[in-house]
């Protein structure tokens, strides 16, 4: 009898700012802690942010799900607008080595430290599109799934582009994202 290959969840990876992360509402909290720096405070409409480079592990899941929680408290996002997400694979554990467009590998306004006169839109096109989060017009924390992707390498960064219609809340108390390893397991 053939074995079934089912899936299980690996350890969730939280992206955000650990020193600020303290969601008031458990209903929008994807993870309990932050392991990878991604500063989204006051990210302007039309602006992008790249995370620190992260290590998915010497052995990693084939696929990862990305979940978003973005804070529009005090802001006026436009219903039906979008936040875009891309994966920037890397081949090196060293932060400044082997990164898409030669970027710094650090949490920064995107494209941070990239080579050439590259715009954010051009930088995004060089990444792997994960998916979009379509926002509504509520001035609240909004959260939901973005997509599922297959990182081709062990290391990489998340790129977030805010096309929501307004800036994000000017702190990282609620802004965070979760990468969920979808681990295949032979039964």
């Amino acid at each position: 009898m053939a074995n079934e290959v089912l899936v299980k969840e690996g350890t969730h990876i939280g992206l955000g700012v650990s020193g600020s992360f303290s969601p008031a509402d458990a209903g929008t909290q994807w993870v309990s802690s932050i392991g990878v720096v991604l500063t989204l405070s006051a990210l302007a409409d039309g602006a992008g942010r790249q995370s620190d480079k992260m290590d998915l592990g010497a052995t990693r899941a084939r696929r990862y799900a990305l979940l978003a929680a973005v804070d529009f408290t005090g802001e006026t996002p436009t219903s039906g607008e979008i936040l875009h997400y891309y994966w920037l694979p890397s081949t090196s554990t060293t932060q400044g080595t082997g990164n898409v467009a030669g970027n710094s590998g650090a949490d920064a306004a995107a494209p941070g430290g990239a080579l050439g006169s590259i715009t954010l839109a051009e930088f995004a096109l060089q990444g792997i599109f994960i998916g979009s989060f379509v926002n509504h017009d509520g001035a609240v924390v909004q959260n939901g799934p973005v997509g599922v992707f297959e990182p081709p390498t062990r290391y990489g960064q998340l790129l977030v582009i805010n096309d929501s219609g307004d800036a994000l809340e000017a702190d990282d108390v609620e802004n965070h994202h979760a990468l969920i390893p979808i681990v295949d397991e032979v039964q």
């Binding site: 039309g46 060293t94 650090a106 800036a167 390893p181």
Partner: protein, 230 residues
Amino acid sequence: MSARLIVEELRSDPGDRGYSGMDDRAVVAELTRSDITRSRELVAGSEVIEAIDDAELATLQRNARGAVSDLLNLYAETPIYVGQATRDMLDGHFPPGTQTHAALHALYVETISRAHEIGIQGRVRVGWVTDARRVLREEPLRAAAQAAGERFHGEPSGAACEFGDGPGLSHSIPERLGTHLCWGHIQELTQETGKRALTRAALDPDPTAQATSVTPDDLLNEVLAEMRSR
């Protein structure tokens, strides 16, 4: 490629709009203000139909009415090229002083924004302007780095590196460390951090527990403190 269009707009400011003295939001407002009147070469057939006054159409002689009707029947669902010949023909049927003449001539012009004029459709986002300005600020720095045989890694903060002169320009990474480092020292810091992260991961019995950043803040600060104590 709207950001690239904005780069060129801000670089040359061909309309002397004074972008250099505006903040990013003011630039967006300036780009999206409808203040340019230009001639239209294409109008929808339905727009022409709307512009023609029924009573004035009825006064035309049969042949002229037939010609106008043919034109509109032909183009009702498609744009009409309103070149000078077409305008002259319509003016002949609907001379100055008629309602239709005024309505048709109102169709021949449109008021648009500068963003529309340079090819940006829809919303102009603040972040695009911010990004375009970064590209422009970095241009001379890239050229200088290239001339010096260095790689360019983003615009410098203008502040001195905490550890003194080193290779590359100085950068501000306040969210991470609250200090300024040159690229060489950033490399040194992250390389040491990377080694430590690998060591820590190697000691961790749970392979999934290493699926976090190789450079968490506490680890960076730990290594930074070590570099400061040298």
